[in-house]
């Protein structure tokens, strides 16, 4: 090599070697010598890779073989043990006769580039992971509202929406929503948040909080909008439950105050009766105390029934026996209220499968309601509550009929509604729970009522347990209900 080329060779900012056919290094530049030491008598594979024999894939060998230049990416190790990524380029060196006598190998250090590539790849994987695993639905829409990308949560719940319109995928609609947060984000480049109701592909309705964010290209133009929807169904459910709880507290508080007022009245009558030595007043007061204490007990039982949402414990029951039990329990109160409790049980009514606690609570509520209706009626001098049981082929029927105050149309319509009560001491739970118990048995409660005439409840319960109701009894609940009902 002539002197100027030798100088260029020496100063090149890469590793340059010249190798013979045995891959022995016959020359090397300064940069090589700095990082790999002396080359004399050493072989390429020894220096670069600390190997004892040649590499399987060798660009130098290929250049010797075909006379062409070749490029490979390789890992090498300096004599100080530093691993480097290099791009290897080879070129043949020919003699005057054109024969290849040696090959020049140029190795350029690309370790920094490779490290950056690795970081970039890791970052991409990381973002991909976040995009897919983030616990909300993400979709990216173009100006025509076509979904171009979507994360795993979206694909799982809404199916493969790629290429579909967002309003089709999220809402099964045939036209864009109005207003549309995605279109708003396209228009003003701002974030837009809105609560929406969406329906997943299995038909489940979900409440979501949607945030639409514009995505810009390097020129600052909005090319897409990212729609991120957080599932807040549970939050909404919780809010509904809290609202119901608030109503329950209000309703219970109102009912309880009314009953406590009755108790206070009873206590006043007892105390003043003793002071005045008026036995009749004492007895009347004590009956008032007992009546209101029983009603408080019944109210607590209703509240527990409502709050626990207990499941039925199925057993064969005799329709007339269960009705008789309830009537026996109510007999004392009927006497206090000076009303007649008439029973008409068909001894052939037979058995049915039911939750004994539930049926007792239901019938008890209906009888209590009828007795209250009689108590509040001052137009008739005599009051009667009739409890009847009849058996049919596929169901048993209970009837509770009174000649109390009766209900107007508005009351009839609302009577099974949660927290509805037309009584000053009602919680609005009793008839709601009765209806729920009948429904849980696959049965029904119907009523006929006329103001000033009276009310008739008709309960129909199937003889056989409904096939889709498969539940285990809750022993703790049963024990609690039993204790409360005495």
């Amino acid at each position: 090599m002539s002197s100027p080329f030798q100088q260029y060779f020496e100063e090149m900012p890469c590793y340059l070697t010249v190798q013979d056919r045995d891959f022995r290094i016959i020359d090397a530049n300064k940069h090589f010598r700095q990082d790999f030491g002396d080359f004399e008598g050493r072989y390429c594979y020894q220096v670069y890779k600390q190997r004892s024999d040649r590499c399987e894939v060798c660009p130098v060998a290929r250049t010797f073989r075909d006379g062409q230049s070749h490029e490979e990416e390789e890992q090498v190790c300096t004599d100080r043990g530093v691993d480097l990524s290099v791009i290897v380029n080879t070129t043949p060196i020919r003699n005057e006769a054109g024969e290849i006598t040696a090959v020049m190998e140029m190795s350029t250090d690309i370790t920094h580039i490779k490290n950056m590539e690795r970081l970039l790849r890791k970052s991409e994987q990381h973002h991909h992971l976040l995009f897919n695993e983030v616990p909300c639905y993400i979709s990216i829409q173009d100006r025509d509202l076509n979904i171009s990308e979507a994360n795993l949560a979206f694909l799982k719940d809404f199916g493969n929406g790629l290429g579909r319109k967002c309003f089709e995928a999220y809402k099964h609609r045939g036209e864009p929503c109005a207003p549309c947060p995605v279109q708003e984000a396209f228009e003003d480049g701002q974030l837009h948040t809105r609560e929406e109701a969406v329906r997943s592909r299995d038909g489940t309705n979900r409440n979501v909080l949607v945030t639409a964010a514009p995505i810009r290209n390097p020129q600052g133009e909005i090319t897409h909008v990212m729609e991120m929807s957080a599932d807040i169904t549970q939050v909404r459910d919780l809010e509904d439950r809290l609202t119901q709880l608030g109503l329950l507290v209000g309703s219970v508080s109102h009912g309880l105050k009314g009953l406590l007022n009755g108790l206070a009245g009873g206590v006043y009558l007892v105390n003043s009766g003793f002071k005045k030595n008026n036995q009749q007043r004492v007895e009347k007061g004590w009956a008032t105390v007992q009546r209101n204490a029983t009603r408080i007990q019944s109210m607590v039982s209703d509240i527990l029934y409502y709050a626990k949402d207990r499941v039925p414990s199925w057993e064969p029951l005799s329709a007339s026996e269960v009705a008789e039990e309830v009537c026996n329990q109510s007999e004392l109160r009927a006497k206090e209220l000076n009303l007649e409790l008439v029973t008409a049980f068909d001894s052939e009514a037979g058995d049915f499968e039911a939750d004994a606690q539930g049926v007792r609570a239901m019938l008890s509520n209906l009888v209590e309601n009828s007795m209250d209706a009689c108590r509040m009626d001052e137009k008739k001098s005599e009051h009667t509550v009739k409890v009847g049981v009849q058996g049919f082929t596929d169901h048993v029927q209970f009837e509770v009929e009174d000649n109390g105050v009766g209900m107007d149309e508005e009351t009839r319509d609302k009577v099974f509604t949660l927290f509805f009560s037309s009584k000053g001491t009602g919680t609005g739970l009793g008839l709601f729970i009765s209806d729920r118990i009948a429904t849980a048995h696959g049965g029904s409660v119907d009523l006929e009522s006329e103001p000033g005439v009276g009310t008739r409840f008709v309960v129909k319960l199937p003889r056989k347990r409904p096939p889709d109701v498969e539940v285990e009894p809750d022993e703790a609940d049963l024990a609690e209900m039993e204790a409360l009902r005495g």
Binding site: G250, H254, L260, L269, S272, K423
Partner: protein, 127 residues
């Protein structure tokens, strides 16, 4: 003496509550008339003019709120003192605060009614 007795109209749908208040009032020398709901109260007020009205709020047929409104619109009845008896502590206050043209009642008593507090209020109003 009977002519000098003052009369209180007790309006409540709960018989126990009516018994309680009428007994307390009668023990303290007042005559009582009872009404079992809002409609009954309006009917009783057409027959006679009591010296004071004890008015429950939550009742079927016609609520205490609507009875109160009717009372205050009637020249003959609007000056009769009214004590509101309520189990829902803020329902009447809410009604009053949203309708400024209706004057506030003369007294509130929360259920359960304290007999002494009730009679003290009655005494201050018509005693």
């Amino acid at each position: 003496m009977a002519d000098e007795m003052k009369t209180v109209l007790v309006v409540d749908d709960e018989p126990d509550a009516r018994d309680y208040l009428t007994t307390v009032l009668e023990d303290n020398g007042f005559a009582t008339v009872i009404a079992k709901d809002g409609s009954d109260a309006i009917a009783k007020l057409e027959e006679a003019t009591p010296d004071l009205i004890s008015l429950d709020i939550t009742m079927p047929e016609k609520s205490g709120v609507s009875v109160y409104r009717k009372l205050k619109e009637d020249e003959r009845l609007k000056n009769i003192p009214v004590i509101i008896i309520t189990g829902v502590s803020d329902e009447f206050q809410k009604f009053i605060s949203t309708r400024r043209q209706v004057p506030p009642p003369d007294g509130y008593i929360s259920k359960p009614v304290d007999a002494d507090a009730f009679m003290k209020m009655v005494g201050e109003l018509i005693g």
